[in-house]
Symmetry: C2
Subunit: 300 residues, 2 copies
C-alpha cells in the first residue's frame, strides 16, 4: 500500500484496461480468465456472478474474483465488460437477466463452444446492444470443472476464436481481442457457421467418440478387468469423457446439425474398417492405417 502512495511519475498507478469485469460462471473457463487477467493487473475489479452461491464463495476463497453477487443483474450493472461462461443451455436465461442491467457502453462476450445459436440469441435478446456483443470461444480446457480447476495459464499459447457479425462494433471487437491477448492467447476471427463446422470436427466429434467408448466398455460384463488392463491408448482416448456432461449436452444440442453430420461421416469411416476386417482385406486395412498415421504425424 505504501509503495503505491509513494509511486513516482515513472511508475504511475496504471488505469486498468477493464475497470470492472463481471464474470458470470466462475468455473474452469471463467475462473481461468479471471486468474490470467489478475496476473496482468488487467482489471480494476472482478465481480463474479452465477446461480450457485457456494461456487461463488469458493471462487472468492481462491482469489479468482474480488467479490460476487448472486443477482446477475446487480453484478452486471457495474461492469464495463461482461464475460458469460455458462453452459450453452443457460445462455438465453442469462442474456435475459443481463439485458436490462447493462451499462450503455458495456461490452458482452461469451465462451460457448458453439457459436451460431449464441449469435442468434444475442441479436434477438440484446437487440441494439448486440452491436457490443462479441461471440467468442477459447480453444482450451481440461476435463476438470469448477473454480478449483481454474488456473492462470490455461489460455497461454492457445487460440481464441471470435465470431463477430456485420453489426459488431469495431471498438467492442478490439476490447475483447485485447482482453484475450492479455491472457497469452492468440485471437482469430471467423464466421460463426464456419466455426461450428470446424469445431464439430475437431472437438465435438472427439467428445462423442470418447463418451461412446467409455460407455460401451462400461456396459461389458468384465468391466473391472477391462479397466485394469486398459493401457495408455485407452487412457488418452477416454480422457475427455470426464468432461462436464451438462456443458456437453448443451454443446451437442446447439451444434446439432454439424455434429450429426460429423458422426455420420465418422460412422462411415469406422464401417470401412469393419468391412475390410470382415472380408479379411489386410491390404485395405494397412492402407487406411498408413494414411491415418501419415496425417497424424503431419499434425504433430
Amino acid at each position: 500500500m505504501h509503495s503505491k502512495q509513494a509511486s513516482t511519475p515513472t511508475q504511475p498507478d496504471s488505469i486498468p484496461a477493464i475497470p470492472v469485469l463481471c464474470v458470470i460462471g466462475t468455473g474452469l473457463i471463467g475462473g481461468s480468465l479471471s486468474l490470467a487477467l489478475k496476473q496482468q493487473n488487467y482489471c480494476g475489479r472482478i465481480i463474479g456472478a452465477g446461480r450457485s452461491e457456494a461456487t461463488l464463495q469458493r471462487a472468492k476463497q481462491l482469489a479468482i474474483i474480488d467479490d460476487y453477487d448472486t443477482s446477475i443483474a446487480a453484478a452486471v450493472a457495474q461492469a464495463d465488460m461482461v464475460f458469460v461462461s455458462v453452459p450453452l443451455g443457460a445462455m438465453s436465461a442469462v442474456f435475459e437477466q443481463i439485458k436490462p442491467a447493462l451499462k450503455a457502453d458495456a461490452v458482452v462476450t461469451d465462451a460457448g463452444s458453439a457459436k451460431q445459436q449464441v449469435v442468434n440469441l444475442a441479436e434477438k435478446i440484446f437487440a441494439e446492444h448486440s452491436q457490443r456483443f462479441v461471440a467468442g470461444h477459447p480453444i482450451a480446457g481440461t476435463e476438470n470443472s469448477g473454480p478449483a480447476a481454474a488456473f492462470a495459464e490455461l489460455y497461454q499459447q492457445r487460440r481464441v476464436i471470435l465470431t463477430p457479425t456485420t453489426h459488431t462494433l469495431a471498438s467492442a471487437l478490439e476490447q475483447v481481442t485485447a482482453m484475450w491477448q492479455a491472457t497469452g492467447a492468440t485471437v482469430e476471427r471467423m464466421d460463426a457457421t464456419h466455426h461450428d463446422k470446424v469445431l464439430a470436427a475437431t472437438s465435438h466429434l472427439p467428445h462423442a467418440i470418447a463418451f461412446a467408448l467409455v460407455d460401451c466398455l462400461a456396459s461389458m460384463d468384465d468391466i473391472d478387468e477391462i479397466f485394469r488392463f486398459a493401457a495408455g491408448g485407452f487412457r488418452d482416448i477416454s480422457r475427455i469423457a470426464s468432461s462436464d456432461p451438462v456443458m456437453w449436452r448443451d454443446t451437442f444440442m446447439q451444434n446439432r446439425e454439424q455434429i450429426l453430420e460429423m458422426i455420420q461421416r465418422y460412422q462411415a469411416e469406422l464401417d470401412i474398417i469393419y468391412q475390410a476386417l470382415q472380408s479379411s482385406d489386410a491390404a485395405s486395412l494397412q492402407a487406411l492405417f498408413t494414411r491415418a498415421k501419415k496425417s497424424r504425424d503431419q499434425f504433430v
Copy 2:
C-alpha cells in the same frame, strides 16, 4: 575392467539369469526389453536378429544389443531364451526359422498383441518344443517404433500378460515371468482367448477409433484449418493413430472376430448418441455423458 578382475568375494561376478538372449525384432518392444535387462545385468549376452540389417546395425549402435546375426537360425542356435517381437503376420515364418535351430532347453516367448493364434501356431510349428514356448504380451508401448524409440523404462510398473497352455512347462513359465519382472513389470496370467477379448476392448478398439478419426478428418476439404484448430481432445484421441500400420494390420487380422464384435458394440453405442441427438433428446444425451464420466472418473 580392472574392478572386475579385482572383485572381492563379497562382490562376485554373478552368473547372469539368461546367459544368451536372442531378440528377434529390435524395435520399440524388443529394444526396450534388451535395454531394461542390460540395466539389470540380467543377460550374459544379447544377440539381435531380424530381416533388416540396417535396423540391427542401428540397434547395435544404440547399445541395445551386443551383436547381431541376419540369420535368425544362427542367432537362435546360441540362445537360452528367444524373444520374438515381430509383427504378428511375420510370426509364422519366424517360428519356422527358429524351430530347427533351437537348443533343446531353450525357452521361447513373444510379445504379440493377440494371443490365441500365436499359441495355435506355436503348437503346430514347435510341436514338442511348444512346452517351452510361453506366449506373452506386454501392455506397454508408445506410438513410436524402431530401435531409436526403445527405452529401458518402458515396462516399469506396466502389466505383462502371459497365456500359458496346459502343456506349458512350469520352468519355462517361471523363466519368462522372472525376465519380465526384472524389467519392472507386473506379470499376470490368463487364458489366451480371454486375453484376446480383454485386449480387443481396451486396446484394439481404441486403435480402430483413432485410425478412423484421423482418416475421417483428413478426408475433409478444410483439413489444414481443421488440424490448426484441433485442441487437446483431438491430440489425445488421435495419438495412437501414429502407431505402426503393419503391426496393427496384423493385430486386427489375428484378433479379427473379437475386434469385429467390439466395433459392432461401439457402433451401436455411437448410434445411441446419434439417435438421441437427432431426436433432440437432451435428457438421454446427458444421462449417457454422465454415465461415461462416472466410469472414466472411477477408472483414474
